[in-house]
Amino acid sequence: MTISPSERDQVWDVAVIGAGPAGLAATVAAADRGARVAVIDAEPAVGGQFWRHPAPRHEPNRVRDAEIAPYHHSLARYWRLRDRLAQHVAAGRAAHLSRYEVWAVQPAEAGAAEPAPGAAEPAPGAAGSARGSAGSEGGAAGTTSSTFFDVLAIDAATPQRHESMVRARTLVLAPGAFDLQIPFPGWDLPGVLTAGGVQSLIKGHGVLAGKRVVVAGTGPFLLSVGAGLVRRGATVPAIVEAASPASWLRHPGRLFSATSKLAEGAAYANTLTRHGVSILTKWSVLRADGRGRVESVTVAPIDGTGELDPDRARRIPVDVLAVGWGFVPQLELPLALGCATRAGASGLPVTVVDADQRSTVPGVYLAGEVCGVGGAALALVEGEIAGLAAVRAVGATGPAGAARAVSRPDEPEIADMQGDLAMRRRRIRLARRRERLRTFADALAAVYQIPGSWLGALTDDTVVCRCEEVTAGAIREIARDHRAADARTVKLLARPGMGHCQGRICGYAAECVAAHELGTPAAHRPVTRPVAAPLSLGTLAAGWPAAIAPVCRHQSNV
């Protein structure tokens, strides 16, 4: 598609999708450098899952902040980013499109590599600095991207769910991840929740999901959820961890590489100890029971063969069971654009990025959990790197240029050099920090692997796909029937994942069950879902939506 000069007014420098730690950091980094940025997010307030906040109200936010502050981490950083974004929005440099659900992204060829409005002609010094900087690897840094992108989003705040479009020269995709779920007998009972869901209720609303909650699964996130629950006043009879943290001892070097993360973990452990919460390691969920609602969970130790030992099982009365097995990166948008993926540390696909968080598609940058689940600290770093790289690609001059005009109007080169030097230092620091956090994340993933024991506990009558009510037995039967020689065909025939969730919930488990029955290794291939969020056919039928222009009339509801 060719854009005419008048249409160029419609094009943003950067569109950031997702306002969690990664997206927020990318937005602020890009806007700080003078780019016009639209950040699009489904939630009412910025912060994502990690810094989930209630919808902003007209009364001062800090009152609400204080209420939920005890359940959050590194809030000072959050407030700083949030306030900085608000400044950019007020100054007309950025827009926060809150409660917009992105359902599709589409690349379109621009007629020529013309600079976007707002981004002045790249100063020779600025372009040179980008090329010369560490980590740019001679790629898009100096190259002006010749494409632009259409982001199609539904305004969930309007009852009609209006569709809008954001056109941008570069994209930073930071859509995050969702809870990985694994079926077990009783997992579909009301009161069995994901650990992430339980955490969201506490963080976003200060609400307890239950009074007596067992937290089970694997990963340090369970400690965080458990600590949040007891601080809020819930009883946590046990945290049931399938992995054996003693295996940390096998990676002592990595322990020292992320001391702040360890301090965070130690704080949780301390809280849990004070409240007398017992942590069962190498134990897992055998089943949940209850009439109409979960009333108890039965947990059992994982024996030497990797199976749950029912003879040593314990039944624990609960009113809520929170289960967390890690997170699944949301790859819909990167895949729709054709970004390459690889198998991540958990075996699930993650996107491929370079040192600048560039995807394999020019003009598309990726940050946060889509690049491999690594937590908020890593997401912040990746987001900032992505935001800076996107700005270099569009050639926005940024505050280096703005500062130059004020401080050294007579000597622009010197100002440029100073700006370059600071930027280069910043980028080197970010690169190191990312390396350290990535190493730590990979070490965590290696320790907190999902054990295979759940497959043994999965009875034939357990529903695997809740949308289509496909049981484990139905999947196994088709695999046994020899009608299908591979897990993909088994899934096509048994049809888990064809309902509302489109396999987002059951995809991992269905693949594992089919592969296990066939005796083949589970292959978690990326699943293309061209409709990333539901929208009505009527909305589609109404035709191409109007573009939200970079003149910031559309601001967040803050």
């Binding site: 054709g338 065909t489 009505s536 056919l537 009527g538």
Partner: protein, 386 residues
């Protein structure tokens, strides 16, 4: 009995294997991918007579409809998710209605059962149709299967009759004897080149048949024609038949390379409503065109207004294998003895598969065919090129 290698484990390959194995041939089905992994898994499972004008393809379709009925009896309708639901073709203007009625009259003369439907009777067939449609034609012969299930079921039946199915096998070419007759099929398996002895090879590789036929040394012109299908959220039974607009008829026979859409709406057992069927010649480009998707949505809402508020769940892309003259290629290739083609069915591969399989088995076994085979012969391209 002949040793036959069927290349392609899609719907057509499975139907060929099914008929050949029933004849007692020693059948090996090879595919580089899984069962029904290509275009088979990308369609609605249409078995249509309604969209075909009088001619050789309609003759094949009429035979296929009968064979699908028999297969459903033998293997179980539930196994295939076979539904003889019938098709309702509606016109959106008085002009198209005239063309549709005339088309139907010719079809009736060729043996298709069809009933004109007056505007007041449309709601008796489909209560949720737009009330302002000028009329249509009902085709009781149209059917539906779940294509991957049907493919798996036919392969399963073929295996019981002695066939072997091998996946992860990529065909590289064929070896011939000094008299020009096929001797073996050369394949790559796990990186190693292996030969499978064969008296006959059936090219049933669908959209990829152009490439495979060239490798074999007997090229036929089969090209991809992209299509999208929109899938809604699961609903109660709101669409009873296959319902499509009369424009579809003219699109199937069209030679235009650009986008053509005419809407096909139908329900599935799972409750989802499928909306097809765009046709574009854009090569193997899997990118979703959201502009095309919008056009399809608008056309679907035009005939079923309730869809306006229904959620779109997913969109999938497929590539129909088409030939320049819009007829499938079925029969022996005169250039290499023992090479048969069964490909180029465009959007009708599921529907035409059993009659195609039967025709191939008849030819391999040296019998006369039920439907005259000449119009489908690969030789039409061979002599054209000469």
């Amino acid at each position: 009995m002949a040793r036959v290698v069927v290349v392609g484990a899609g719907m057509v390959g499975a139907a060929c294997a099914y008929s050949l194995a029933r004849d007692g041939h020693e059948v090996t089905v090879v595919d580089r991918g899984p069962v029904g992994g290509g275009t088979t898994s990308r369609g609605e499972g249409n078995i249509l007579v309604s969209d075909k004008s009088a001619g050789p393809e309609l003759a094949l379709a009429l035979r296929s409809v009968e064979l699908w009925r028999r297969i459903a009896e033998r293997l179980g309708a539930d196994t295939l998710e076979w539904e003889p639901k019938g098709g309702l073709v509606v016109a959106t203007t008085d002009e198209t209605l005239g063309a549709l009625r005339e088309f139907a009259t010719q079809q009736a003369a060729a043996g298709v059962s069809c009933e004109p439907v007056e505007p007041g009777d449309l709601s008796g067939y489909e209560p949720n149709l737009a009330p302002d449609l000028p009329g249509g034609v009902f085709y009781p012969g149209d059917q539906q299967v779940q294509p991957v299930r049907a493919t798996a079921a036919l392969l399963y039946a073929a295996r019981i009759d002695g066939a072997t199915v091998r996946h992860g096998v990529e065909v590289l070419g064929v070896r011939t004897r000094s008299d020009g007759q096929v001797w073996s099929v050369e394949c790559r398996v796990d990186g190693a080149v292996v030969e499978i002895d064969a008296d006959a090879v059936v090219n049933a590789t669908g959209t990829w048949a152009g490439d495979v036929s060239a490798r074999i040394g007997a090229p036929v012109p089969v090209l991809p024609r992209r299509g999208f299908i929109l899938v809604t959220e699961p609903l109660p039974r709101v669409v009873r038949h296959k319902v499509y607009t009369a424009d579809y008829v003219s699109n199937v026979a069209s030679g235009a390379a650009g986008l053509e859409t005419s809407v096909v709406v139908e329900g599935t057992r799972g409750g989802t409503v499928l909306i097809g069927a765009s046709r574009e010649r854009v090569g193997f480009d899997t990118t979703i065109s959201y502009a095309v998707v919008r056009t399809m949505a608008a056309q679907a809402v035009r005939i079923f207004p309730f869809l306006d508020r229904v959620s779109l769940l997913r969109v999938y892309t497929g590539f129909r294998p088409y030939c320049p003259d819009h007829l499938p290629v079925i029969g022996a290739d005169s250039r290499i003895g023992g090479v048969y083609h069964a490909c180029g069915h465009e959007g009708a591969g599921i529907g035409l598969a059993p009659a195609t399989g039967e025709m191939i088995a008849d030819l391999v076994s040296g019998r006369s065919t039920f439907v005259p085979a000449e119009p489908f012969s690969p030789d039409r391209f061979v002599f054209e090129a000469a």
